[in-house]
Point group: C2
Chain length 340, copies 2
């Protein structure tokens, strides 16, 4: 079955190809009847405009590229879903590429998408910042990019971020107020901006409540359950298990909890836990996990809006949107005596 082109339609109807083209692009004057005739025959023939050709001549694709560091953790899956929902409603298609937490892959992803002429890019950068030069160059050229999370201050670009410090502070303070004396923070990669900010929030709470330095600790981990487990093994080996943990995300918390249980510890009686970037699992596990919920859908939608503004008006102002979430307290971080 051959792919028809406007040429085929033009020939069949004995009109010029430009007339046919115009029939598909409302912005030109064209007699109503010819337009309708053209659209109808096109429909009958099963004609589909070739978007590749359109891109080549128009220099725009109505495609938007999304680069995420991973979608193993629920968070970025949700981001992509929300982004797609919003952008489709605006007439764009969404092409997703994931970087597997690998800086080089991230660069290839961004380049591939830009080379494929996506009209704009939403990037959630992975660890490290060796690609910042590349992004800065594109931004200088006027290429529409919006960042989501994990972004260093240096780049002059619109971004949507979560107020990690504030909510990390709340989560930590909650543990302190519950009466836990020795609280460790499993922090994720230190060179990840979100981790850095959560660490700051943690420290701020410790300072505010004058917790002595020997009673808290920040331990670098990754973002996976496995890494939570490894830390616990190590702490048990060194007889250094604290009263409570505040974790960079739910998966790290769940891994740590598993390992503690396997070694006879009870949660929350012996060790309390708070997670972050709440997942659906928080309510399903036993004990249910306290966690900070991020407004994933709102963040994604806002990033989409900023990008579209920028695409449609290259002088659109650069904005940094800082979002807030909610802290859901559950069994994993309350004293037995407390009423939940």
């Amino acid at each position: 079955m051959k792919h028809y082109t406007i040429k085929d339609i033009a020939k069949k109807l004995n009109v010029s190809i430009s007339t046919v083209s115009r029939a598909f692009n409302d912005k030109y004057d064209i007699k109503k009847e010819t337009k309708e005739l053209i659209l109808k025959t096109a429909e009958d023939m099963g004609y589909i405009p070739n978007p590749i050709a359109k891109k080549l001549s128009q220099k725009r694709s109505l495609n938007i590229g999304v680069v995420v560091p991973e979608f193993i953790n629920e968070y970025y899956s949700e981001i992509v879903i929300a982004l797609q929902e919003f952008l489709i409603s605006k007439g764009y298609q969404v092409l997703v590429m994931q970087s597997d937490e690998n800086e080089e892959q991230e660069l290839i992803n961004a380049q591939t998408l830009i080379n494929n002429m996506v009209d704009g890019l939403i990037v959630a950068p992975t660890t490290g910042n060796r690609n910042m030069k590349y992004y800065q160059d594109r931004i200088k050229e006027g290429y529409p990019i919006v960042f989501l999370n994990r972004i260093e201050e240096s780049v002059p670009v619109s971004k949507v971020v979560f107020n990690n410090m504030k909510w990390s502070f709340f989560a930590t303070e909650h543990l302190i107020r519950q009466g836990y004396k020795k609280i460790y923070h499993l922090s994720g990669y230190k060179d990840l901006s979100v981790s850095y900010e959560r660490i700051q929030g943690f420290k701020k709470a410790m300072n505010k409540h004058h917790i002595p330095k020997e009673n808290y600790k920040i331990i670098e981990t990754g973002l996976l359950a496995k890494e939570g487990m490894e830390v616990i093994e190590d702490l048990i080996y060194h007889h250094d298990v604290p009263d409570a943990f505040f974790c960079v995300n739910d998966m790290v918390a769940l891994g740590a909890i598993r390992k503690l249980k396997d070694n006879g510890y009870k949660v929350p009686e012996d060790v309390a836990f708070v997670g972050f970037t709440e997942t659906r699992m928080a309510e399903l596990v036993t004990p249910q996990l306290s966690s900070v919920k991020q407004p994933t859908f709102k963040m994604a939608k806002k990033a989409g809006e900023l990008l579209i503004e920028r695409i449609e008006d290259e002088n659109a102002p650069i904005e940094t949107i800082v979002m807030n979430g909610e802290f859901n307290i559950r069994q994993s971080s309350v004293r037995e005596s407390s009423i939940l």
Copy 2:
């Protein structure tokens, strides 16, 4: 910063554009020195070939489209990751679109990708089959498509599927052998082929062991934890909680377990559980969840291989690959007396 084209290079070097083009495509004769000179200047200028133009004239894109029904459940996230890893190693880029378990969106996704001239498509269809006609038409035209899971027999196309029936049978038989008398199956959407097959395996085990009809039941659910919870609410209301559940996936199992625990039931003492399509959560929750593990990476890679074969040789044979997994028995489905 302007995007350079072969024209710019040609002008700068005082050669023709065809010479420049040839420098980038080894298959033509070209003097070694001119080639090297061209490649070097191109590099210096920061020239990047425009893939859109290439597509238009070559009719191939080195892009492959992947359509998945969702990536809320871990399974399809892993599939996409594995697919991407393999296809990138073969020189292709992977464009992912998700259908949100919506048939119409799936059709739009497939069309978008095909219109964007991806060289081939890997589709994991969502529930229902109203799009089958569309796929059949494309396949008849010789368009390379490979299906992953969830596919009806009627379509003559290569596919990679899991042997759901066999492993569903094993999982069910395990529950029977553990001595559970009354076993219910939470089945997912009945018109999903994977669900259908798992139901068959469940029934087969029941028949083999001559379990009387009043001692088993198949209850249709979705694929999310929420739906597992709803079923349990209903069963508790009707005083119809069995000894054991075999669930279409881990999330449904985890939702059901949550609801039972909230109502004072103990797992596995009062009610045992087996999940399917094992997730990372299976080992993290308490009790750890027995589940059937699918060889996700192998399945994705095989689908990628089949697609590439088909792209490179349109007469490549149509194959149906049926894969096997492993059944991991954990605490959620063993009698207290048993030794794990």
